[in-house]
């Protein structure tokens, strides 16, 4: 199945802009389902971006991050063709990772 992570990393000059969209329910634990039972909290806690062996961005998320979360940031020191490794883990210990080429 396709990875849960969609990444777009585009370098112009020394600055690489990164956008990521992750398929995840991000349940807060406050919402009830149709039968009236609480849907347990299930959300990504940590999202890490690594490039050339170095962390370039680390997100620590709580329950207030939207479903199918999105984040955008930029960093220096990478160039076209470098690999950008993206990985997340959630509060249930589930995780996923993918590697994208900077275009």
């Amino acid at each position: 199945m396709a990875s849960s992570i969609r990444v777009r990393a585009t370098a112009n000059g020394d600055i690489t802009e990164v956008q990521a969209l992750i398929q995840h329910p991000m349940d807060t634990g406050f919402v009830k389902d149709s039968k009236g039972e609480l849907i347990p909290a299930h959300f990504i806690q940590e999202l890490k971006f690594e490039c050339n062996g170095k962390d370039v961005f680390v997100a620590e998320w709580g329950t207030a991050v939207s479903k199918d979360p999105y984040v955008k940031f930029s960093f220096k020191g990478a160039k076209k063709g470098d690999d950008l490794k993206v990985s997340w883990t959630d509060n249930k210990g589930v995780s996923d990772t993918t590697t994208a080429k900077i275009s």
Binding site: F30, A59, E60, W61, V65, S66, V71, K76, G93
Partner: protein, 160 residues
């Protein structure tokens, strides 16, 4: 629901860490407060209800408003579940950026570690329970700067 062993071990470690931190709490802050930029998930901070407690748990001190922190958030959110919020700053030596939604069940929404070489600006989409203040805090060179904006949130439609 049983927590997998790995998470439990990590919790214990954090428990120890936060106890230590609390212990520090009442000491005069002579020692530089432990910057939030450690590698642990700030479990304690995410648990806090109020914004002040969350900021204290995360950074251990208060922020002062600064116009160098540009917070961009809609005036009226098109939907409380997906509110596009972003912050950018001209301050340098930024090591951490965090977002707080004052009257959410837990005020701390997201916290980002900004390593050296990464630009000090973040865009994300947050959930807001109701109309309230959104605050962005930037940790630059050990000091905290903040910007706050009210975002109106309500449901849509005529309610059926």
């Amino acid at each position: 629901m049983h927590k997998p062993p790995l998470a439990t071990r990590r919790l214990i470690l954090q428990g120890a860490a936060s106890v230590a931190l609390l212990g520090l709490g009442n000491l005069p802050f002579a020692a530089p407060a432990r910057a939030a930029a450690n590698d642990k998930y700030p479990e304690e901070a995410f648990k806090q209800k109020g914004e002040a407690d969350a900021i204290k748990a995360l950074y251990g001190r208060n922020a002062e408003p600064s116009d160098k922190v540009k917070l961009d958030a809609p005036e009226i959110a098109e939907n409380g579940g997906v509110v596009p919020i972003s912050v950018t700053t001209t301050l340098d030596k930024v090591t951490s950026i965090s977002f707080f939604v004052a009257e959410n069940p837990n005020a701390l929404a997201a916290s980002y570690r900004i390593p050296d070489g990464t630009m000090a600006s973040v865009a994300n989409r947050l959930k807001m329970a109701k109309t309230t203040n959104v605050t962005a805090i930037v940790e630059a060179d050990g000091k905290l700067y903040s910007a706050t904006k009210e975002v109106k949130v309500t449901v849509g439609g005529c309610g059926g």
